[in-house]
Symmetry: C2
């Protein structure tokens, strides 16, 4: 570690988060999904898709909001996101009676904008390039509490509670597969798991079309891909062009390997989870299952994190119908 | 109660079942599903669709098999079913290394036959009218243990474990919605719930097109519908033409009311569960959500049992695509 690296999130931070978020966050179940060709081989899927907001993002967002609750009560909260983080922040704000502004890019699909509005949040639609600036403006002008999507210790600690739960639920786990994009989810889980059970393998999974994290881990330097490249993948939750400044040291220290999957493999996995696991997963949430079905991985009892299930119904229908799948 | 009625299943029977089946049965999660028009109104869905066999049937089947395990080890087990019970029996047989024969009707869809065969069970396909006879033949000729689908105290007690779990998971539940067909599921749940919390309402839900149970409860006499009528509903798990001899006394004693839903309402509910709850439900499993969305029900905190999720992918795709829904 470089001496100027920020301090890493600790097991104690994650345990504190678990206590903080317990009342609104679901202890998600671990579902057995059989292999299509061998009923004796099963993947254990920790279904974060079943959180009330449809994704794991609720954990980190809520853990961060609780820690700035006085500011939030007085001056509201602000977040920039077009996806599951937006929904998580808006949902917590509604439950706690907070004023929330979500800054969304013009390119955000209308159903996602509508879903956040339906939760009572104010949506501020801006050109993609102005998102960070606009969010910062709410902080300086109104004193709103900013809730970042991933590159933040409170967010990492919140997502890490998944690791604590799964070690209790699957005491003999040997391999854990985690979607990776900005790195908040895997940083938290890997910190929890490696602190308690260093021999358990933690493997990141990302689309071939957005493989900046694999490149970073293998080269030892944080890589940034062009968003014109990362936006090619259908896994819209995994298009972040680089790991974060705060997540990267966690990934470098704790993650054993990162593997990639193709677009076709992702769609096959969405279908398999729906039929064999009765789980609606979004493409980003299905990459871990895709890796288990197709990639060479360390042997042993394997848990896949199904990170979310916010799927467009028309896309899901198309995936289910495809005769190839 | 008539003096010649068989003894009812007791809370102690259900508690014993819970201990017996704990190692293979999932303590299914309770998922919050919001109302489409009001995010503050939520239905709590107990997702039996997430059992490793895709439906609650695993509970009763396993509870029955454990109690005849010596016979089962020596002479195998036999069951007649074309649906979720078949899969549950075959799955338990595989886990326990038992020899299983599943008698299925000629009309059973090929994918269901294949799924049972993939689990290693022997499938015996016979004309629909000969199913019971053929199963009985295995019992007399081979001494196989017969595992009935619903009209049996061990099955009722096994399904009743859902009631114990949900009272622990949702301590302030006021209304419980349960799919009803042969009556095994609701008999078990209602026995557990009314024994512990008699003020909680237990409401059965069935398709309008197979409303023999509603007719029975309202008239006080067990009604039988023609299968040519009950087979009109898309909810293929709810086509049993009458309550069972053993389930009927439980239903009459413990169930508060039975409501019905239309075919269109069932399909709408399948779609809503997939999109708003990230749960793949089969039509039979979605009738309770359909009732919550459309019927007048007692007020209060409501739990819906989502009984299963074994859906044909093409049907699910069609439901997701329908612009009307």
């Amino acid at each position: 570690m470089h001496s100027d690296s920020p301090a890493l999130v600790t097991l104690a931070d994650i345990r504190a988060a678990a206590q903080r978020i317990d009342d609104l966050v679901l202890r998600t179940p671990v579902i057995e999904v059989p292999h299509p060709e061998d009923p004796d081989r099963t993947l254990l899927c920790k279904a974060e898709s079943l959180q009330p907001t449809g994704a794991f993002k609720l954990r980190g967002a809520y853990n961060a909001i609780v820690q700035v609750i006085d500011t939030a009560r007085e001056n509201g909260i602000v977040a920039q996101s077009s996806g599951n983080h937006a929904r998580a922040v808006a949902w917590v704000a509604r439950r706690l009676g907070l004023d929330a502004v979500i800054v969304m890019p013009e390119a955000a699909p209308q159903p996602k904008i509508d879903a956040v509005r339906a939760l009572g949040a104010r949506v501020d639609v801006v050109p993609n390039s102005q998102r960070d600036e606009r969010a910062a403006q709410f902080v300086t002008e109104r004193g709103s509490a900013h809730i970042p999507p991933y590159d933040d210790e409170r967010i990492i600690a919140g997502q890490g509670t998944i690791g604590l739960e799964l070690l209790e639920q699957v005491t003999d786990v040997e391999v854990i597969l985690v979607p990776i994009s900005g790195g908040g989810l895997i940083s938290g889980i890997a910190t929890a798991v490696k602190s308690l059970r260093p021999e358990v393998k933690v493997i990141g999974v990302e689309p071939e079309l957005a493989a900046d994290a694999q490149q970073s881990l293998r080269s030892g330097e944080r890589a940034t891909w062009d968003v014109l490249d990362t936006y090619r993948t259908i896994a819209d939750g995994l298009r972040t062009p680089s790991l974060g400044e705060r997540t990267w040291p966690h990934v470098r220290r704790y993650v054993d390997d990162i593997v990639t999957v193709s677009e076709e493999q992702i769609l096959d996995a969405v279908r398999h989870l729906a039929i064999a696991g009765r789980l609606v997963a979004e493409p980003s949430g299905a990459v871990t299952t895709a890796a288990w079905l197709t990639q060479e991985l360390p042997a042993g009892k394997t848990v896949a994190i199904i990170s979310g299930g916010s799927t467009d119904p028309a896309l899901l229908a198309r995936i289910l119908e495809s005769p190839r799948l």
